[in-house]
């Protein structure tokens, strides 16, 4: 069931609930066969956006187009969508097979077609043989697979995933991420995912739209957003980052509480910007000797996190705290450094990213 080209276009979407603005001037274009994530903290408008695409809520203004058809005025049942909910939302009074067949039955498919398609879908999600069980008899991961099968069996024009893995434990979540991604790519189905989990968004998306306060702050491929965040919010919401906010001096340095720092690009003097440096870009010890910042500090805490170790380091003189990661190295013991150790540190200038300070973004 390979899909014909399909895509989803949101333009100029506004939505208010009473006096509360949920979504503001939102534009989004999902290319055929790609998976786009709406990522943001709760209350950022991502779920409202998804519900408007589904047709549960109507936008105050703007249009939603699916495959060149304006679906804005259509009810949910006329939009040709598949949807998977965080709580699975399987019909508890129906068997697995009846759940999966539901959409086909609503379309008026013959009994034979229903039976064939249900078997094919259940095989695909590795649940063959469980046709006659009830949802309550399945594990969370199995229920989510049934929900996925139920959404995909009608060959939807767009698949909507609303925090689909939120109720699963971590290990299961990771394997389901791969499964969903693999299936989405095989079926080439245009997909919109809502999540507050940045790891999930990064690992299964073609593009991520980071949202805050009802707006899309930044849209791009996961690695672009991670490596080139445009705002301090994006830098800290996707992963961890050390932020140095300050004013640019006449000689092109950034005057921050941590000292005057070199910038990776020229910024007109007098501007207030933030320099973002990822913890894994921070170098410590001998490697930091040749770096231009000439900083040093004292380790406050060191924690072992499996494949890497995380440090909090207080800079000498200024006391500014910095987070740094280092690959775990068996020869150094679990963390390599201990609280109280003094260490020189810095980063190559081009590893920093100039981002808009949050105040400016709002």
């Amino acid at each position: 069931m390979s899909n014909a080209p399909s895509s989803l276009i949101l333009s100029g979407i506004h939505k208010k609930f009473g006096s509360l603005t949920a979504v503001e001037d939102l534009d989004l274009d999902v290319a055929p066969g790609t998976l786009v994530s709406l990522l943001g903290p709760s209350g950022c408008g991502k779920t409202t956006t998804l519900r408007m695409v589904a047709g549960f809520d109507a936008p105050d203004s703007g249009t939603i187009r699916i495959r060149d058809e304006d679906v804005t005025p259509l009810p949910p049942n006329k939009r040709g969508l598949g949807m998977v909910f965080q709580s699975y939302s399987l019909f508890p009074h129906r068997t697995v097979a009846e759940n999966v067949a539901f959409g086909l039955r609503m379309m008026g498919a013959s009994r034979q077609t229903q039976a064939d398609e249900v078997r094919r879908m259940l095989d695909m999600v590795k649940l063959g043989g469980r046709e006659d069980m009830y949802p309550a008899q399945l594990s969370g991961g199995q229920q989510q697979r049934v929900a996925l099968a139920r959404a995909l069996v009608i060959n939807p024009r767009v698949l909507l995933l609303d925090e689909p893995l939120g109720a699963l434990d971590k290990a299961l979540r990771e394997s389901m991420q791969f499964e969903i991604r693999e299936m989405q790519q095989r079926l080439e189905i245009t997909t919109l995912l809502v999540t507050h989990d940045q790891e999930e968004a990064m690992s299964i998306s073609d593009e991520i739209a980071v949202m805050q306060d009802g707006r899309i702050l930044q849209l791009g491929a996961p690695n672009d957003i991670y490596d080139k965040p445009e705002t301090a919010f994006v830098a800290t919401f996707l992963g961890t980052s050390n932020l140095f906010t300050g004013t640019v001096t006449t000689d092109g340095l950034l005057r921050t509480p941590a000292g005057n720092l070199a910038l990776p690009a020229q910024v007109p003097p007098g501007r207030e910007v933030t320099l973002s440096v990822r913890p894994e870009r921070i170098m410590m010890g001998d490697a930091a000797a040749a770096l231009p910042q000439g900083l040093s500090g004292r380790v406050i805490s060191a924690s072992f996190r499996g494949s890497y170790a995380a440090y909090r380091i207080a800079l000498d003189e200024t006391g500014v705290e910095i987070t740094s990661y280092r690959q775990a190295d068996a020869s150094l013991g679990h963390t390599g450094m201990s609280p109280g150790d003094r260490v020189p540190l810095g980063w190559p200038v081009d590893q920093g990213v100039i981002v808009t300070t949050n105040e400016n973004a709002n």
Partner: protein, 280 residues
């Protein structure tokens, strides 16, 4: 030591429950048991089933039981049909008004049933308010209609009394239905009406069941409404009253009471099973 703690906890619980249990035993269980016992005793104190044999083979009495059950069933069906939309609005649409609706549902239950039934009489008497509107004010009729002592009015009054029970039973189950199940059905192509019949209604069957049994049980034993509004119904409670007060055949009255009690117990048992299925 642990046993002693457990025992004292158990003793305290028993002490707290004792007043209620003693009260129920003395004023509820004993009279009922005594009443039932009468139906099994001969005049000289021996055991007999002859009254039940006589009662349950008599066409007239069987007719009365049947009429009681049919009347209750009719009242139940009408009550549930009226109650469902009310419960739906209460849970889904009323929002902040839901408190007011619940108050309006419960308030009549706090009023004496005699008062409410008299209200019906005032409204529907030959020279009552409704006839005055129809004849004098609106001029729709030449002569007043006879409402009192019609089956329709008696059923309407019973429904009026019992609908709140059905509404509250259905609403409590409807409250627990996950809206996303309905949204899931909508996205899969079901219209709103289809979604209601495919998802909402099946998931609230238990609420309809408990509500229906409750209404049926109360309707079975209803007495005041039928005495005051008539309707020509000959039901078990009315017959029991006659036997006690007019015919003074206490033994037969006890027999009929026991039969009514058995029906009520059967309903209770059904209801408990339904509740247990919901996991309450």
């Amino acid at each position: 030591m642990l046993d002693a703690v457990k025992n004292s906890a158990r003793a305290r619980r028993a002490l707290l429950l004792a007043p209620a249990l003693i009260f129920l035993a003395v004023f509820f269980v004993m009279p009922l048991a005594d009443n039932s016992a009468r139906s099994f005793l001969t005049e000289d104190g021996g055991f007999t089933l002859s009254r039940y044999a006589a009662f349950l083979t008599d066409r007239f009495y069987l007719g009365v039981i049947l009429e009681t059950l049919i009347l209750s069933a009719a009242v139940t069906v009408i009550s549930v049909v009226i109650a469902y939309p009310v419960a739906y609005v209460l849970v889904r649409k009323a929002g902040r008004l839901s408190g007011l609706i619940v108050f309006l549902l419960i308030a009549p239950l706090l009023t004496s049933i005699i008062m409410r039934t008299f209200g019906w009489q005032v409204l529907f008497a030959r020279r009552g308010l409704v006839n005055q509107w129809l004849v004098t004010d609106l001029g729709l009729l030449d002569t007043p209609l006879r409402w009192l002592n019609t089956p329709g009015l008696a059923i309407a009054a019973l429904v009026h009394v019992l609908v709140p029970f059905a509404v509250l039973s259905i609403a409590s189950v409807l409250q627990g239905v996950d809206r996303r199940l309905e949204e899931g059905a909508l996205v899969l192509g079901a219209s709103r009406i289809r979604t209601f019949f495919e998802v909402t209604l099946p998931l609230t069957v238990d609420g309809i069941g408990t509500g229906a049994i409750l209404v049926f049980m109360i309707a079975n034993g209803s007495f005041v409404t039928l005495v005051l509004l008539g309707g020509g119904f000959q039901t078990l409670p009315l017959l029991i009253y006659q036997q006690f007060n007019t015919t003074r055949d206490f033994a037969l009255a006890s027999t009929m009471s026991t039969i009514l009690l058995v029906i009520a117990l059967a309903c209770l048992w059904l209801q408990l099973r339904l509740l247990r299925r919901q996991g309450v």
